[in-house]
Symmetry: C2
Subunit: 275 residues, 2 copies
């Protein structure tokens, strides 16, 4: 309760000199507006900088009130909207929003020089007859190396081990103003019988790599052509991609650094997972 | 105007069987709600799938009405909120939201085996005495190779040319539930006098690489230690990173594929930009 008798919003301090409000209970927009005004005044006196308000989608009736008090959008997910307000007269130093989607393509070959390919049941390749590498998008918090293994399993039932990132591609305006990073991963199969396919995949098979690379689609599209060439180079030359090297960050979390391990000799995820 | 006499929302068809509404003019939330209801019914009859509504922040009073009609949030930027509604009874196949922020670190050395380093004026390293590589976040639609050149210029005034990505790191929960991809780039300097610094940088200098790598911070933090080792390997061994190879996509846009060009001999951005 502030001196004015108005109930202040409950907040927690963040690590960057600001505060965060997690709205959970429904409240009348007018009452919210009054509380927010009083709270901003209180935080300003305390020298707080960025103010974050997380509004679950159930509380969409409060969005307008927050904007009217000077908040702007920061980011949104399906079920919530994050708004932010910078109190001081200094330059804003808030973290930027996410700008990229991260996808993977999996290059998996067997001992007969065949590559694991699929035909998609939807999307731009549906009904085109194009055989392509299994692809997919990383889930929230998922590592590139794990996403590649998961997608191959989901689309073909094949169990694999991550070896290295062969190449990656950055593209822009992939959806709205957002960008896309696509990592082509080399995986080693631990099984060979194609058994399971999710609904996104119409067909899956092992196909001679030369036949895969020679498809008109791969020939006509410059980017796909480059990627196919890199995959072939991996089979036929000393091509070295980037291995996944596990490391602990300052905050104690395990992350991966991807690098050319030929000269480094770091312990990689692949050697760790070897059965 | 629908048969009911209710004004339908103006929309354009998208390439995925859906429609997109760009709200621009202010309208009473109740009128918007009625129009939206009639429009959804109309689109359903037409067999449309995903419905996108872009609401500029000035029209925040309409957010609640859209949510009440069954829309969910897709993503938001500072000045707008994108909502989406999936009409059919089939599984939703809408593009996912962006999940990653993309940052760069620049490794720039001169002929005296010195590396270009900075001390930050804010953030977690402020006042710590730590000398670190120039770093930054890519702008909307900016390529990794261009972002590295820009950040070095902004922070130190040094003009550079992009050579290759030496390594990259993926980390999660970097801000809220979002992830981070950080690319360590090797750049070749075209100038050596440190002249300009933006407000984020307190100091900048050329520092012997061994001294840089030996800093307690680089020794204690496993991830930073790995990155420093890769940088040193680039100077002392045959370490090869990923070059930027320009390629045209199906839609005619120029994108970069990054790969180990040692065995490929592709024309790279570096050879293109050579003065």
């Amino acid at each position: 309760m502030a001196e004015t008798g108005v109930e202040l919003l409950s907040s927690i301090d963040d690590l960057r000199g600001g505060v965060r409000v997690d709205m959970k209970e429904a409240v009348d927009p007018n009452i919210f507006s009054t509380s927010l005004k009083a709270s901003i005044s209180h935080w300003r006196q305390q020298g707080k900088q960025g103010v974050w308000i997380k509004l679950p989608i159930e509380l969409s009736s409060l969005v307008d009130a927050a904007v009217k008090e000077g908040f702007r959008y920061h980011h949104a997910e399906s079920d919530y909207l994050m708004l932010v307000y910078w109190i001081p007269d200094t330059v804003e130093t808030l973290p930027v929003n996410a700008s990229h989607r991260v996808g993977i393509g999996a290059f998996v070959t067997n001992h007969k020089r065949e590559v694991l390919v699929v035909q998609e049941s939807r999307g731009m390749f549906r009904g085109s007859g194009v055989w392509k590498l299994p692809t997919g998008v990383t889930n929230e918090g998922e590592d590139i190396c794990d996403a590649a293994i998961r997608e191959v399993k989901e689309e073909t039932g094949i169990q694999t081990e991550f070896v290295e990132v062969l190449a990656f591609r950055q593209s822009h305006q992939a959806f709205f103003s957002k960008s896309d990073l696509f990592f082509v991963c080399l995986l080693k199969p631990h099984s060979f019988d194609i058994q399971k396919r999710d609904s996104e995949v119409a067909e899956a098979q092992w196909m001679p790599v030369e036949e895969y690379a020679a498809q008109p689609f791969n020939q006509k599209n410059e980017m796909f052509n480059l990627i196919a060439k890199v995959c072939l180079a991996k089979l036929d030359t000393g091509y070295v991609g980037f291995s996944a090297v596990p490391a602990t960050s300052t905050s104690g979390k395990r992350n991966y650094m991807y690098c050319n391990n030929l000269y480094m000799g770091f312990k990689t995820s692949s050697t760790n997972n070897q059965p």
